[in-house]
């Protein structure tokens, strides 16, 4: 099952903070973590990262790995610096208003699976 960001944004009602122009990007899977080194170990190309960390290093990690984007959940409104950095790096930054459980459950139902490292 392959999906692009646009389909995920629409089916989950995500807020697009950055990346209105990046929504054609195909998504290979999802990964949930609030630890950056965990994502660096397990995140894969084109994977969507779900986290409540909302500082600039999140964008650095997403960009280094070539992730499809970041979905922020259950965190304060991100600082302008984060939004700026995501724009600079071309990382789609999305926000979900519900809980991580609901988000991941819905994504799974839609056919998305966990990303697997090679």
């Amino acid at each position: 099952m392959t999906m692009n960001l646009k389909q995920i944004v629409e089916s989950l009602g995500l807020r697009v903070l950055v990346g209105g122009d990046l929504l054609d990007r195909m998504v290979s899977g999802g990964y949930v973590s609030d630890m950056l080194s965990d994502v660096l170990a397990n995140g894969t190309v084109d994977c969507l990262w779900i986290t409540r960390q909302s500082h600039q290093n999140v964008i650095a990690v997403a960009s280094l790995l070539g992730l499809a984007g970041v979905i922020l959940v259950n965190c304060p409104e991100p600082a302008p610096a984060l939004v700026e950095k995501a724009k600079e790096e071309g990382v789609a930054l999305l926000m979900y208003e519900g809980t991580t459980f609901e988000l991941v459950g819905t994504m799974y139902e839609e056919g998305l699976r966990g990303c697997k490292r090679a």
């Binding site: 609030d34 950056l36 080194s37 965990d38 660096l40 290093n57 650095a60 990690v61 280094l64 070539g66």
Partner: protein, 148 residues
């Protein structure tokens, strides 16, 4: 500087500066992309360099991220002035971290950085002196270039 097909780069790293953290690794990544290394190779080097750079930001005072790129391999050194590592074997253990709570709250301190470097690099060596600093050496051999 390019000399005889060797490219040397060096980026300063400031301890405790989380705003700039990762800039060195991201600049190195761009250089490697421009040279035309295969994306999977670029990713391995960038991830390992980011982990070593962040270790300087988190655990040391200041340092440098240096790289030497030749046709056959890429070598990276993350050198710092810092406290040094008392027990390297322990530090290399997955899950071992001395990061304080306020650092963990930012999502660092899983104790996975050094193991991530080991997994991504073809060779790795840590040289450390207590009260002086640490150098993490990483080598990536079998450089693969993008299909032309």
């Amino acid at each position: 500087m390019v000399d005889n097909g060797v490219l040397d780069v060096a980026y300063p790293v400031v301890g405790g500066d989380f705003g700039q953290a990762g800039e060195g690794a991201s600049k190195l990544k761009r250089v490697l992309q421009q040279i035309g290394l295969a994306p999977s190779m670029v990713r391995r080097i960038a991830v390992a360099s980011y982990e070593a750079e962040l270790n300087i930001v988190i655990h040391a005072f200041s340092g440098m991220l240096k790289a030497k790129i030749t046709a056959s391999k890429v070598e990276v050194w993350a050198e710092d002035q810092g406290p040094g590592i008392p027990n390297v074997e322990l530090a290399m253990t997955e899950g071992y971290s001395t990061a304080p709570d306020h650092i963990r709250a930012l999502g660092f301190g899983a104790g996975l950085g050094l193991p991530n470097i080991r997994r991504n690099a073809d060779a790795m060596e840590i040289t450390t002196a207590l009260g002086t600093g640490t150098t993490v050496y990483m080598a990536f051999s079998n450089v693969v270039r993008k299909e032309q």
